[in-house]
């Protein structure tokens, strides 16, 4: 009937891979913020389901981020290390995307 073992494998594989990718990217964002470069990405069209971001609000957010970065207790060296770590995390996420493409394109994995 149904192959429960292959279903379990699928479940475990999806959870671990998703958790790894999401953690890597989230850690990257955390480190980026710590290094004083909080990403401010306003919605492309003001469609965000609840919070509608106006240009003024986006500016205010950037200001808050800059202020928080200024107050950071970290030394320049620590900030640089955090930034480096952030980029390493983003690189891991990018590698995951490439692996995804590799899995999708049959010509790449010979199936």
């Amino acid at each position: 009937m149904i192959e429960w073992s292959s279903f379990l494998i699928v479940l475990v594989a999806s959870i671990t891979s998703t958790a790894a990718v999401v953690s890597a990217y989230a850690l990257g964002i955390r480190l980026l913020t710590v290094s004083g470069r909080t990403p401010i990405v306003t919605p492309a069209e003001f469609t965000d389901a609840i919070t509608v971001v106006s240009p003024a609000e986006a500016k205010a957010a950037a200001k808050r981020a800059a202020k928080a970065a200024k107050k950071s207790p970290l030394t320049d060296g620590q900030k640089r290390a955090a930034l480096l770590g952030a980029w390493a995390c983003f690189a891991i996420s990018a590698a995951a995307v490439l692996f995804g493409i590799y899995l999708i394109v049959p010509a790449l994995h010979g199936g």
């Binding site: 699928v10 999806s14 389901a49």
Partner: protein
Amino acid sequence: MELTLIVVLVIALALFFDFTNGFHDTANAMATPIATGALRPKVAVALAAVLNLIGAFLSTAVAQTISGGLIREGDDGVFITPELIFAGLLGAIVWNMVTWLLGLPSSSSHALFGGLIGAALVGFGVQAIDGSVVMSKIILPALLAPLTAGLVAYAATKLAYAITRRYDGKPDGRDGFRHAQVFSSSLVALAHGTNDAQKTMGVITLTLISVGLQPVGSAPETWVVVTCAIAIALGTYMGGWRIIKTLGTGLTDVKPAQGFASETATAATILASSHLGFALSTTQVASGSVIGSGLGRRGSKVRWRTAGRIGIGWLMTLPAAGGVGALAAVVALQLGTLGILVDTIVGAAVVGGIFLWSRRNEVSHRNVLSEVADSGRAVKIKRNPKPKKKVLS
């Protein structure tokens, strides 16, 4: 044997099914990035269309196995005729149009299977259908897909928020997830393209084989691949805005980090399922992911009423598409060529009618989320409250 009317009709109908498949499934990849504003609505559907087009050309190996063992074919079984494929496609298209009108994300593959099963039941009776295959390939996966994806997305959302949460009230940079959403949703769109256009290629090839225009077991012709790819891309570009609205805003309010978690969960689950041999429906995985991510974010609500409607839609898919397919098959088999014409005309009338009906309250890229945005403007909503540390007692 040459190209007869029925073969031409089946090919036209298959391409139209491909088209409905495209706009039905845009939402799977693009509902959440549109909802969070990671991509402009028009850009998002254009991106999905291009990726579906590319995806359709990437793999062409699966096309012969479309009936997937559901219908017993071959020497000791039944031999499917173009008339029955025609009826099955009609059932699938009508159900796809109905669910689109209602804004319900439902699996196009299941609609196709349902239509073909209904037609085969009329043509050959109950022994044509392999009940255990229906159970293990369609019904159980339909229950497992949203559960799996929901669990994965729930865990991923929890992680994403836990890692970026700041207790000092300083900016947390979660906006940055919008950039990542572009990539995660693109992966879903590409994966979709490599699967779904294949189904139509399979149907057309099956038809050509069944009338002897193509040797048994041969690969789809180039023109079949090209037209199917274009049909699904066009459909995707049309954007099923009604379904995008349901998935993007109807189930839960999606935030960037949550959207990224849910898209990654969808992509990972689909890739894992297609590579580790346990096929799951893209639509059901995507819907499950959105619900799971809604459960995983503190302070977000899941609208279970909408989720329930979607679930009922899934339950109805097989019998409804099968019913229409069976009806069309009865007419086609009883009246012959005249029946095919009657089917075509009635089918066109139903599709046209649904389209006209949809114009009464059109949902397009202009207003897909505007109602929600308007209510956001009208009601001043508090900024996210400062997270409180859990006190261990």
